[in-house]
Symmetry: C2
Subunit: 223 residues, 2 copies
């Protein structure tokens, strides 16, 4: 005869790897990827350690799987909706706006998962750090391609340095996330949105003289 | 009769608290403040755990002392030399330039100590996090005051939002440090210097039409 406890354990054991990883992603965004041990995840999910070992052989495998789960969430929440906008400036603006919403509204419990993970692992050579760096490069490339598309569409000057603009946008995002996480400073997001918008405006060619202000950024002037 | 080993131990024991903390600061900048246990510091300095316990009662005390030691180094290496420049725009530029040099040249072994420490502790309420946040506020205030001084000297428009500019400068610094640490991307510092200089130039009034380019930033054009 099965006890209620064993049934509950079995039910917990049935949770998909994906559901476990979602818990892992949020946990890691708050406590760091390095705090993400099989034991810590067991106590958070209520699953047995042996059940978790069946999914993830080692702490490093668990960390890598968590990083890739966070990447999937990021693609679903930020990249995919932004790519519904037209190639070029419209898509670039959506990438920025949706990123700000994503970080400000805590899609990950502890703010931007990748900002936290890259700061945590940047001094620790290994597979986890390499994977985080690859994903961060993908993000910078997504920004750069949107900028290049805008240049090819005549919305930005072709001579403009696309990597420079992508760097600045990313820095403003990281700076906003930093201030929100450390000071709880929501104003930082208004400031970063203002700065990004100013940068896009000042670089837009006469072919696209006015960049309409989206609802999220409508209140920034004079802030 | 004292053995060579006991003499060596005593000589190690004589190292000042300051010297221990300097090791702690560099160690924490690479491995994180949370990795900074009495045991880890003992193996790094060659001192006994009990000797270290005499200096620092708990791990949290050690972390707090390390944060304040890093602050002292930062003041000595960045703030003090920048404050030798004239109040206003000159001082603001020196604050930015010296900061870039400090982070790029690894004054702390693992890059900017405070960028790493704030990312590590931002989700962990407590005395360490509060102290890091206080010090970061001091830095943002130092930037803001230099900007306000420049406004009062007629070098920037009085209506300009000083907090906004301080936020943007800090974000570009954090973004450069992030890229250097994660990708080993030295170009990021050139990019951040270019962006800061452009920001200062675009905001300078006609009273200060040309901002001379310092040696560190002389190679940025066309980069």
């Amino acid at each position: 005869m099965k006890t209620a406890a064993s049934k509950a354990r079995r039910a917990q054991g049935d949770r998909s790897r994906q559901a476990i990883l979602e818990v892992a992603v949020h946990l890691a965004s708050v406590e760091g990827l390095d705090g993400l041990t099989i034991g810590r995840l067991a106590s958070e999910t209520g699953m047995s350690k042996s059940g978790l070992f069946a999914h993830f052989g080692s702490k490093e495998d668990l960390q890598l799987a968590t990083v890739d789960a966070a990447r999937s969430i990021f693609i679903e929440k930020v990249i995919r909706p932004a790519f519904e906008a037209k190639k070029g400036l419209a898509r670039l603006r959506r990438l920025c706006e949706i990123w700000f919403d994503y970080a400000e509204n805590h899609v990950f419990r502890g703010g931007c998962f990748f900002a936290a993970a890259s700061a945590e692992f940047d001094s620790r050579p290994g597979r986890v750090r390499d994977r985080i760096a690859e994903i961060m490069k993908e993000w910078l490339e997504a920004l750069r391609w949107a900028i290049v598309d805008a240049q090819e569409a005549g919305q930005f000057d072709l001579k403009m340095d696309a990597i420079q603009l992508a760097f600045e946008i990313n820095a403003l995002e990281i700076g906003a996330n930093w201030a929100l996480q450390l000071f709880g400073d929501k104003q930082a997001f208004t400031r970063a949105r203002t700065a990004v918008l100013e940068r896009l405006r000042s670089r837009a060619t006469s072919a696209e003289p006015i960049i309409p202000v989206a609802p999220e950024t409508a209140t920034v002037t004079g802030a």
